[in-house]
Symmetry: C2
DNA sequence: ACACAGAATGTTAACGTTAACATTCTGCTA
DNA sequence: TAGCAGAATGTTAACGTTAACATTCTGTGT
């Protein structure tokens, strides 16, 4: 993803000896620019300051210092250095001091590769995700897995999967060549090889999926449960004509929410009207809203995410329908807090933190060989704000 | 971040032999639930299905298969296996076939640890970020670094830094014990040890920072340049009374944008009115909007991000001031596309992709020892939409 | 001063891979 | 059919670390 190299005249200043390309307008400035108020945009200067003594020296012996080097300098055996490095008790204070001094002097850092070669473990979990991490849900999931890992002193290694080829097999294959103790596959959409995927024997595998998999542990937000809770809530408030405004038809999350809505409507003996489907954006919500505005009998709308819910509300209000006085609206995700002033959108908040920690847990501490594969659905909670009231 | 263990009665089904805790409401369901329309929320079933032959077999010899095992089975030397594994030409097709068969049979995977111990490289870059990755800007940065890494066949390892102790030294220390060839430190706020930080000699280090650092390469979006472009644009449209509605006072991004605004106002001989500051949220924008609504001479407002710009616009409109007819408003980030229907907010879009690729590039292919430390500011582009027009 | 227990330190080997060199094949030429 | 070049394969050693065992200290009690 390098910038097209339309390098303009003044730009060559930024091309270092390494041959790095720069983009038009990109510039290097001298270290002091922030303290020079009359910021001069066209006067690009190349900085000259360099590291001092210690840093420069350290760079010299860049070619990794090994435990043997430290041992030689400290006048002890490699094993003793290892003991000091690992905080063993059985080292005389005087020796320890000598070793620490030698480490410091040489800038010794234990080699991750050598350590994990011995240990057979990495203390890292891998996460495979599609490239557009930003999409709500995915992003939050990612963040929470990262947090769970950090809580357990694990690092997280990310493998980006091309949006267009969501294949569990491919994701897993790439992960296998990386230093990970377990892998979490969060591909969002159901990948085409979901059924046929066989997890590698070498690393525990968890799939983030609302659908169970015969050979892998799976974790997910409980989409159906979410819809059940939301629709029950609306019914409890007294609503009977509850419409469903969904997201992308084939999205697993959308399907789950739709199913839950349908089920409760049936269970309660209510007649579900034609569901609508959008594409998760506010615009598609707006479009559905214009249609829903014509349904005079409808008193509540369950929208499959908050972004679309905003669109629905705009459309309703433009059509002269008040929310919540005339029609109640509830979304999913609880993602609109602090984004739109004076909009207190009722919503459903998933427990992404829990999903992350369960996924991490299953990936690093997999169930025993002969146990069944867990399929865990994590419930969220309904967030009451002000867009749902009893019908008039 | 485990769930408090108020495990209820029915819940113990979910407690596997591994002693894993489950949360109330969490459940395991049988694999077939999605195809069982009358979804029964209270009937939790534990799945029993297990892997078949091949999978089970593979699990057996879990304790990693080495190159020597493959060699033995294939009746060749380890070196030959290595050659096959690395796609060397110099292997007779018949031999290659035997080796591949042996690999397949045993489920051989080369050991990352051993390989990188030999190679001295990992093909992984490390990224240190504060825990709340979601914050606009940071998230996008993250995503773009991940993409840049993927483009170069690198994986990305994330180290989360506690929001409350943003220390470059600490971040770097943790990174040093991980398998990374280079590190990118993106701590957001300026960490307290920015000045005193000495990068490790072992791995190339890049800081994402609008301020240069004497010992490290630095990359950043050009905040000052952004403001300069935006304010010049407003001036070109004919605006003279241009107010600034900023974000968190001490945030580096906010400071840069403020400085750029101030500079252009001075350069153009315009008199800058008192700047306002919020906290990046729509609510704070709304608050600033109510104040700005009282300034009758102001014709344009430069808001330091889009979220606040939305708040400002709401407040203005509620005060009966039309946007853009009476007052033009422009934000930064271009983050509101598709979020609010019918709002076409003019904005400034940073080139985060470029920042990510430059950061990655500097981390994996650092400038030669005796070169000056680069400090690179990446410009963005102004996005004209419909909230800026010439003043009446 | 001597024996001895236990602490401190050292030695060896192994983790899995591959570069560099060594050896053995293969097919071809004279 | 010997000789040979070059292809195919094998052997050795090293990457940096640490578990397991071996050795050497140290101080204490006689």
């Amino acid at each position: 993803m390098h910038c097209p190299s339309t390098v303009n005249g003044t730009d060559n200043l930024a091309n270092g000896e390494t041959g790095r390309r720069s983009c038009p307008g990109e510039r290097r400035v001298r270290p002091t620019y922030t303290s020079r108020p009359p910021y001069d945009r066209d006067n690009w200067v190349t900085i000259v300051r360099r590291g001092k003594g210690s840093y420069h020296m350290a760079r010299k012996q860049n070619t990794s210092v090994s435990i043997a080097d430290v041992a030689k300098v400290a006048g002890v055996s490699a094993q003793t250095v290892s003991r000091v490095a690992n905080g063993s008790e059985a080292v005389r204070p005087a020796t320890k001091k000598r070793v620490l001094a030698a480490m410091d002097q040489l800038g010794y850092r234990p080699s991750f590769a050598a350590r994990s070669l011995r240990a057979g473990r990495y203390h890292i979990v891998g996460l495979a995700m599609p490239s557009n991490i930003s999409a709500t849900g995915r992003r939050i999931q990612f963040e929470n897995i990262a947090t769970a890992a950090a809580d357990h002193q694990y690092a997280l290694t990310l493998v980006q999967i091309n949006e267009n080829e969501l294949s569990l097999t491919e994701a897993s294959r790439r992960m296998e060549s990386l230093p990970v103790d377990g892998q979490i596959l969060g591909l969002g959409m159901e990948p085409y090889d979901f059924e046929s995927f066989v997890p590698p024997s070498s690393i525990p595998t968890v799939i983030i999926s609302p659908k169970p998999h015969p050979l892998c542990a799976t974790v997910s937000n409980d989409q159906v449960g979410c819809a059940i809770d939301v629709v029950n809530y609306l019914v409890d408030k007294g609503h009977q004509e509850i419409r469903f405004a969904g997201g992308r038809r084939e999205a697993p999350a959308n399907i789950g929410r739709y199913k839950g809505w349908l089920q409760v409507m049936h269970d309660k003996g209510l007649s579900p009207q034609e569901p609508l489907f959008g594409d998760w954006t506010a615009d598609s919500g707006y479009r559905m809203g214009t249609i829903l505005a014509r349904d005079k009998s409808c008193t509540a709308i369950f929208v499959a995410n908050d972004t679309m819910a905003v669109g629905v509300i705009y459309a309703l209000r433009e059509a002269g329908i008040r929310v919540p006085e005339d029609v109640s609206v509830i979304g999913v995700d609880d993602s609109m807090v602090g984004v739109i002033p004076r909009l207190e959108l009722s919503s459903y908040r998933f427990n992404d933190e829990r999903v992350g920690s369960v996924a991490f847990d299953l990936a690093t501490n997999p169930p025993a060989e002969d146990l069944e594969m867990p399929h865990i659905l994590v419930p969220g909670t309904l967030v009451e704000r002000s867009t749902v009231v009893p019908p008039r």
